[in-house]
């Protein structure tokens, strides 16, 4: 394998990328430790939408953030940020602190950001459309555009950390958060930055997106919030819309070791493919997803037998869960049964553009703590899912490689490969 000259560290070895900081705000908790504890306990973050605007919707459950981001931010700071940007800022500050970084810790020209959002500032867009209709053009906020643009969360994090090596926001629907992390891996390997804050943020719990997803028949219509997200269960009937953000501090191993940083795990590979089959439905055999996993393993220079764990995309839709289960078996082949599988959306719901980032963070914690959280609500496993799915209680995990899958409308497939820290 030939690498561009920039892909070699000063010692001449290919650049290794490590995770040194994690942060999240989710329906399970206002930070990552509380989210992790809730996952291990199998708690649900899904609740009823009692608000008036939801009264006539066909779906009235969602995973609202456990902690309002405005409570974690300064009032003036929060008022010019869309809720998705507020989530991103909260999660990025946590990850930055967690990595032991402060102001001036990293040369701004060697610091980049890759923070995605699947939808962007839709709450701001809709609220300002009401202003336009009710009060006229002159009353539309001058902050509308920077609050609604899908690169808004990335820009907010970049400004906060003074990142000048590039601020990116790859958009690939529900694979966006994972694609941001895959992009960060490429940038770090290519020598374009030493440290990258990567992840995703989403805030789209409002009537219009819920109505749109419901019209696609993509959402669960079950009237028991905590039982609605049930990946791999025979009774699953769609995903549950959630909100929040997750970010990871990624850096070259050389940079991390030079500053004596704690290393959670290595990011050893990524695979990105597209189905080009249908804009929303997964390719039924899971071929594109399987290829993403195979490419991630190839990129990581590992074999299927090294894989001890898969954090599945598994959103609790009838078709998607089966296609991915088949894809995992295709990609891992005879080694499939060596890998225990979890589906943390059973507890968190689906954070759309933040989902891949949150699941990457959870996968890293699973490797570090050698523990895999169980799938909630898996009472009656689907006969078509022949995987070693973790149920009821957390499972002990040996050291090794873990894959995290994320797929998105548009046929996007992204797999990230992490390895236990050596």
């Amino acid at each position: 394998m030939t690498l561009p000259s920039g892909a070699r560290s000063t010692t001449g070895a290919p650049r290794t990328v490590v995770i040194t900081g994690l942060g999240a705000t989710t329906p399970l908790g206002g930070d990552l430790p509380s989210t992790w504890d809730a996952l291990l306990a199998g708690r649900s973050g899904i609740g009823r939408l009692d608000e008036e605007w939801a009264a006539d919707l066909p779906v009235r459950i969602a995973g609202q953030a456990a902690v309002d981001p405005q409570a974690q931010l300064d009032r003036v700071e929060a008022r010019t940020l869309d809720r998705s940007q507020q989530f991103a800022l909260v999660a990025a500050r946590e990850a930055w602190r967690d990595a032991g970084l402060g102001a001036d810790s990293v040369d701004p020209e060697r610091l980049a950001v890759a923070v995605a959002s699947g939808i962007g500032g839709i709450l701001t867009l809709l609220a300002q459309y009401d202003v336009l209709r009710e009060r006229g053009a002159r009353r539309v906020s001058p902050h509308l555009v920077p609050m609604l643009m899908p690169n808004g969360p990335a820009a907010t994090v970049g400004l906060e950390l003074v990142a000048r090596a590039g601020v990116h926001a790859p958009v690939s629907a529900c694979a966006s958060g994972a694609e941001a992390i895959a992009l960060a891996l490429d940038l770090l390997r290519a020598g374009r930055a030493d440290v990258i804050v990567a992840g995703g943020a989403e805030a789209a719990i409002t009537a219009l997106p819920i109505a749109g997803f419901a019209s696609m028949r993509a959402l669960s219509t079950r009237d028991e919030p905590e039982a609605a997200s049930r990946p791999y269960d025979k009774g699953r009937d769609g995903f549950v819309l959630s909100e929040g953000a997750a970010t990871l501090v990624l850096e070259t191993e050389e940079h991390a070791r030079a500053r004596g940083a704690r290393i959670y795990a290595e990011l050893i590979g990524a695979g990105i493919t597209a189905d080009s089959h249908h804009v929303a439905a997964p390719e039924p055999t899971g071929a594109g997803a399987a290829r993403a996993m195979a490419l991630a393993m190839k990129d990581a220079a590992i074999t299927a037998s090294d894989v001890v764990h898969v954090n599945a995309h598994a959103t609790s839709t009838p078709l998607g869960d089966i296609a991915e289960a088949q894809a995992i078996r295709t990609a891992l082949g005879n080694a499939t049964d060596n890998a225990c599988v979890t589906a943390t959306k059973s507890c968190t719901g689906h954070l759309l553009g933040a989902a891949g980032a949150l699941e990457a963070a959870v996968t890293v914690l699973a490797l570090q703590n050698k523990t895999v959280p169980p799938v909630r609500n898996l009472d009656d496993p689907d006969d078509d899912v022949s995987l070693d799915v973790v149920r009821m209680t957390p499972r002990q995990l040996p050291r090794g490689v873990a894959l995290s899958n994320s797929f998105g409308f548009g046929g996007h497939n992204v797999t990230l490969a992490f390895r236990s820290n050596s």
């Binding site: 009032r75 003036v76 700071e77 008022r79 009353r139 906020s141 001058p142 902050h143 920077p146």
Partner: protein, 82 residues
């Protein structure tokens, strides 16, 4: 409405929008240079002032309102009917 009433009202608006302490909003202060109000916040302040004082501040006039005192005088003049 007295000049002091206008200053107080404007200070509340600037505080609400830009987080500047009310006591710092004094007539000689420049919005941009002293109070760190950016161009977007300035538009918001003008809109809020229009609503609060019942005046209209066209963009051509807004660009001339450099200091808090400029704004108070403009509102006082424009709002004679208030």
């Amino acid at each position: 409405m007295t000049e002091q009433d206008i200053l107080n009202g404007l200070a509340t608006i600037v505080n609400e929008i830009a987080g500047v302490p009310v006591g710092d909003v004094t007539p000689t202060k420049s919005f941009i240079d002293d109070l760190d109000v950016d161009s977007l916040a300035m538009v918001e302040i003008a809109t809020a002032a229009e609503d609060h004082f019942g005046v209209r501040i066209p963009d051509d006039d807004l660009k001339d309102l450099r200091t808090v005192g400029d704004a108070v005088a403009y509102i006082e003049k424009a709002g004679v009917a208030v």
